[in-house]
Symmetry: C2
Subunit: 195 residues, 2 copies
DNA sequence: TTATTGTTTAACAATTTTGTCAAACAAAGG
DNA sequence: CCTTTGTTTGACAAAATTGTTAAACAATAA
């Protein structure tokens, strides 16, 4: 192979994403990932130099993608309620594939010496203003706009994070829980919007 | 010291709880904990035999305590709304001390080969019936009772889990976020109960 | 063909983390 | 004092994980 051939590299990335963020094994070793990918462990070092660089690489890429995806929705000119629905869709879709990405993002943040560049993006500031407008109109509960966002994110994300716990606590099967999850959008919209 | 003296053991437990569930370093090494406790690392093996047994020990104790605490509230004879408020109080208090216990419980569950004994406790079944009654009365949004519980837990717990992320996303200081957190109870009650 | 480039592998080395052990130490009772 | 019991420590061993290297291998182009 004289010409570059990145299909192995991509395969390792895909596998790592799956092991880390789908299976939730955030501390998987290079051997774990090599096994899951069916490749020699040394290849991970060949392509990514170190275990940490592999993790950082896939993590940062996924985090950025998630950010951009949300941003894209929030910056559309859809009416507020539609925009919220779209945001729920986007989140639900990602969470079904990578439920643990969210956990990685937040627990990761906690332990970073080198904190992320403090962002507070403008699209969020902008959307918070829209939230304020809706509160004034009375379409959503009146409080600080941040609460609306926290409520929204909480209601969407948390059920995915605690799925195994909920299965036990409520005595549900995988199938029953998936059904519940598919009802979430409707439940959330009903809760957040006063008709 | 001829008579048993468990203050070092207790100190290690307390420190481990803090490192694991307050600081969120769920993968802290024995050295990390020994350092934090200011004791020789070997003492951890002396008292707990292995790192895993230390973790399992404090984790299982904390998990059980959390369960029992919730159970106690749900089994009181308070009216539904009061009971819900009390539950929020109990959760908020624990989350302020050990925000990462919840994460440990859920991510832990995911990776256990030996799953917990499938519980689905009766007190939960009982409370779900009460939820159903309230839905019929129209005091809370009509859907499956599980959704009410999921909504409740989500709204309480999630803001703690994603605190660092939220600080950035909304451009808030620690103080501002604490203020927000202290408003959660009111916001949640307002959202879940129609008046 | 063979030289070149990139890929894959096994063997090995280094590091990190965990676990063991024997000896030192401290308190209390006889 | 000295024995007993429980505690603490440092030195050491073992295991797990990560990282490096050199050599084998495959594809392609000159």
């Amino acid at each position: 192979m004289a010409i570059k051939d990145n299909k192995t590299e991509q395969h390792i990335i895909d596998t790592a994403m799956h092991v880390f963020f789908t299976e939730g094994k955030l501390n998987a070793t290079t051997q774990d990932i090599a096994d899951a990918a069916g490749v020699n462990r040394t290849l991970i070092h060949y392509y990514f130099r170190s275990r940490d660089q592999l993790f950082d690489s896939v993590f940062e890429k996924a985090r950025l993608a998630a950010m951009i995806e949300s941003e894209a929705v929030l910056e559309t000119t859809l009416p507020f309620k539609k925009k919220t629905e779209k945001l729920i869709d986007v989140f639900l879709k990602r969470l079904k594939t990578y439920p643990f990405l969210e956990i990685a993002i937040t627990t990761g943040l906690n332990q970073m010496e080198t904190a992320f560049p403090a962002s507070n993006p403008k699209y969020m500031q902008q959307f918070l203003k829209e939230v304020q407008v809706e509160m004034n109109k009375g379409t959503i509960q009146k409080s600080k706009p941040v609460h609306f966002m926290i409520n929204l994110f909480s209601l969407i994300v948390y059920p995915f994070i605690v799925k195994p716990l909920n299965l036990q606590l409520f005595g549900l099967s995988e199938q029953e829980y998936e059904k519940i999850v598919n009802e979430r959008k409707k439940v959330i919209m009903g809760l957040l919007f006063s008709e």
